[in-house]
């Protein structure tokens, strides 16, 4: 009988009920690391991006940009500032595990940095401006000398300033690294002047090498090489080095692409818009952990990932591939009806990395069509044909869609190398995957960088740890909040119901029985709250994930632990509150409660 009463009254506990739902949502949300700081972070970052003149667009060209081309682009109406830009990944000499991005902003009007300490930027000095966080993590001080290595050429310089840059707000070694790990990867700026000296040195070294091959003794070869360096050679090398033009502009991407190809009379590898990625601390913990696991066990079975320099075709790469017994992948920009995507050509016969389906299971790839990543699913149904055109090429290819895959980072069209061969697509090998450790891999001009999977995993791991302790704090806060809210609601409805409870007592119900009723009522409300709250919480999170991190094709992965902890938590809180209210019931004064008219 009383149970019936309980269900009928459920509606009058809607406040409790709603708070239960909110608690569930919060509980799960908290567990996934959703926090309120987002707004302030967003505010601060946007100001920071503005201060460091974060580029709105980046134009890429494999052949680089000339000064003349820069001027043409700068003259496009709506382009406020533009600079030739260079950003390369370099190894730090003397430590195989550390690397960094080295940037040059030629006229320093776009993609600049703010100085934290040291010398102001000066385009004519031979110094290095280093990321303050990287300096911190590696105990590097102003005045120290850094030696970097780029394709065999040393770059030696004194650290003159510590900086922060919007361009490297999310400072990651490559697409597969989600979180910055400043102990192993950082960034630095040098002046165009310094770039010039480095390029000169590299040209001279190359010429000297050629001469030595021709049998000239190295001393003489070096001298001759120095003599033969011309301004023209240097300026050509500089043009080629600046493979990027970064610009600040409010005009739309399509419009810009149009204008650029009109002005330059050629298509570019790509025009990429502003990419604000996830900011640290906003990641969803479980999704991250699942992602980690996926990366570790699902996608990758390699030990080291080797990035090759641009334009390395299969023939050139072949000896390294055989040497490393490697699987490989090629990334390039394509346009599908004007929509920019990545063409991912895959050779993973050795299964050192996998292309995965929606359920995170490896796909056995076939050669008669392409796989679209889930975000491109609207471009074509399975069995339909799509057309795409590589950037920098007039060709259009028509291919059948034979499946969908989950792409972790890029919006991609994936095919096997066999199919690429059959279609006659020209491609270069971007990345090799090998079982060999990075120390076992001998250096080569073709290798632009190496990456240890373990190192990558470790950087995730430390991030997950931080998330964990943050989560604990938030959970404690959520529990306290839950108890306060539910208790107050319980007491409030208790006062409202004290007359009813007193009536039951007068009829002869023992306090204990009424207490049990109150607790079981709470339990039922909680059960319903959980049934409703769980999907509501999930939906909220999905929405958050979509709106905050649409660049990532992360599947919302919830561990059993998260479910059970948030359910137990909610249950526990509601039991405690039920018990507290039941205790109060014992002390109810029947005479008092029934004295007044309603």
């Amino acid at each position: 009988m009383l149970i019936r009463k309980l269900f009928r009254t459920a509606w009058s506990y809607k406040a409790q009920f709603i708070s239960m739902v909110i608690m569930m949502t919060l509980g799960i949300g908290v567990f996934l690391g959703f926090n309120m700081e987002w707004k302030t972070i967003e505010y601060d970052t946007s100001r920071f991006f503005n201060d460091t003149k974060y580029a709105d667009y980046r134009l890429y060209s494999e052949t680089g940009f000339t000064k003349d081309e820069l001027e043409k682009i700068a003259s496009i109406e709506g382009v406020n500032d533009a600079t030739r830009y260079l950003s390369v990944n370099l190894d730090i000499k003397g430590s195989s595990k550390k690397s960094m991005a080295l940037d040059v902003s030629e006229n320093f009007t776009v993609s600049t940095f703010t100085l934290i300490s040291g010398k102001e930027y000066d385009e004519n000095i031979d110094g290095i401006w280093l990321s303050d966080k990287f300096a911190d993590a590696n105990n590097i001080l102003i005045g120290d000398t850094l030696t970097l290595e780029f394709q065999g050429t040393e770059i030696k310089s004194e650290v003159v300033g510590l900086i922060k840059s919007g361009e490297h707000m999310i400072c990651v070694a490559d697409n597969n690294q989600l979180m910055p790990d400043f102990s192993s990867y950082g960034y630095a700026y040098i002046s165009p002047y310094k770039l010039k000296t480095v390029l000169s040195k590299k040209i001279i070294n190359n010429i000297a090498e050629e001469l030595e091959k021709a049998g000239i003794p190295s001393e003489t070869a070096k001298k001759q090489a120095e003599m033969s360096l011309t301004d023209e050679m240097l300026s050509k090398a500089t043009d080629k080095a600046f493979s990027q033009i970064n610009l600040r502009s409010d005009i739309k991407k399509a419009e810009l692409e149009d204008e650029v190809s009109k002005k330059l009379g050629r298509t570019l590898v790509g025009v990429i818009g502003c990419m604000i990625l996830l900011v640290g601390g906003l990641e969803m913990r479980d999704t991250m952990a699942g992602f980690l696991d996926l990366l570790d066990n699902g996608v990758s079975h390699y030990t080291t990932k080797v990035n090759l320099v641009e334009n390395t075709d299969l023939q050139m790469a072949n000896s390294i591939i055989t040497d490393l017994n490697a699987d490989w992948e090629s990334y390039s920009g394509i346009s599908i009806d004007g929509y920019t995507a990545t063409l991912d050509i895959v050779n993973n016969k050795k299964e050192l990395f996998s292309v995965i389906n929606e359920d995170n299971k490896p796909i056995k790839m076939k050669d008669d069509g392409v796989y679209l990543c889930l975000r491109l699913a609207d471009k074509g149904k399975i069995g339909e044909y799509i057309e795409f055109s590589p950037y920098g090429s007039e060709e259009t290819y028509r291919v059948k869609v034979i499946g969908y895959n989950r792409s972790i980072m890029t919006e991609s069209v994936t095919m096997t190398d066999k199919l690429a061969e059959k279609l006659g697509i020209k491609y270069s090998v971007s990345t090799l995957y090998t079982k060999k450790a990075s120390t076992e891999i001998s250096s080569s001009d073709l290798i632009s960088g190496k990456q240890d999977k373990q190192q990558l995993m470790d950087s995730f791991g430390s991030f997950v740890q931080i998330m964990d302790s943050m989560v604990i704090i938030l959970v404690v806060a959520a529990v306290i909040l839950g108890i306060v809210v539910l208790y107050n609601l319980g007491i409030m409805s208790y006062v409202e119901r004290s007359r009813e409870l007193a009536t039951l007592k007068v009829l002869g119900f023992r306090s204990k029985k009424i207490g049990r009723l109150l607790i079981s009522q709470n339990i039922w409300i909680t059960v319903i709250g959980i049934i409703v709250g769980l999907p509501a919480g999930l939906a909220t999170l999905k929405w958050l994930l979509l709106s905050l991190a649409s660049e990532y094709e992360l599947k919302l992965m919830l561990g059993v632990l998260t479910y059970s902890v948030s359910i137990l938590l909610t249950f526990g809180v509601s039991l405690i509150v039920g018990w507290m209210v039941a205790r109060k019931n014992k002390k109810i004064d029947m005479v008092e409660a029934l004295k007044n008219a309603e």
Binding site: E500, R510, L594
Partner: protein
């Protein structure tokens, strides 16, 4: 045979130094099956007396014996069991559970009373079989009071205690309620104790107890009480 016995019963409310004797050394006995009316001005201590008898409250001094059992020193649980088995309460404001139907409100007591009567029978006795599945809010005040009487009777108590049962009702409805109560006393041998301000109701009583300032002023046995219909409102 006496069913209720008050011996020098006092109920004292203390507030700091001040001491208020709501009941002050009250002694009397009541015989089984009587229709008893307690009269007295406001604040006299009528409700206090009824609450002590009903086991809602315990006396500060003295002993109360009901059916041979001393109820003045029972524990909370024992008192609850006493209320469940021996007494039924009817209030001026009916105190039905708003989320339960008429039938469920009455049936509810069978969860605690060992010798509960059939809920439908009780509802039929108060003439509301048509309203079994109505909710209290759908009933008139008189109908609600009848249900609350049915609920009290369903426990099959020896004593029915009514604190101003007609206080919130018009005269016609009040008469109907009194008729039911009278019937319970005459035909089922229940002891009925009614607290009221209304002098006229006293004319129906076998026994009239007058209370003033926490003391009993008089106890009168009436040889020829009027029937409910004869009472002038």
């Amino acid at each position: 045979m006496s069913i209720v016995q008050f011996e020098n019963v006092s109920r004292i409310y203390k507030s700091g130094e001040h001491e208020l004797r709501a009941l002050n050394g009250v002694s009397f006995t009541l015989d089984e099956g009587k229709f008893v009316v307690i009269l007295g001005p406001s604040g006299a201590g009528k409700s206090t007396l009824l609450n002590l008898l009903g086991g809602l409250d315990s006396p500060s001094e003295g002993t109360i014996t009901v059916s041979g059992m001393d109820i003045s020193k029972l524990s909370d649980n024992e008192l609850a069991d006493y209320r469940a088995s021996t007494v039924g309460f009817v209030f001026q404001f009916y105190n039905l559970i708003p989320t339960l139907t008429v039938y469920e409100n009455v049936k509810l007591v069978s969860e605690i009373s060992k010798n509960a009567l059939d809920a439908k029978d009780m509802i039929s006795k108060v003439g509301l079989l048509d309203h079994l599945s109505s909710f209290p809010s759908e009933l008139s005040g008189g109908e609600q009071q009848r249900i609350s009487i049915a609920r009290a009777l369903c426990k099959n108590p020896k004593i029915l205690l009514c604190d101003e049962p007609t206080g919130a009702l018009d005269s016609e409805t009040g008469v109907m309620i009194l008729k039911i109560l009278m019937d319970m006393s005459k035909n089922y041998g229940k002891t009925i104790v009614i607290v009221t301000h209304n002098q006229n109701i006293a004319k129906m009583a076998d026994v009239v107890i007058r209370v003033k300032n926490g003391k009993i002023k008089s106890i009168d046995n009436q040889e020829n009480p009027l029937s409910a219909d004869e009472v002038e409102w």
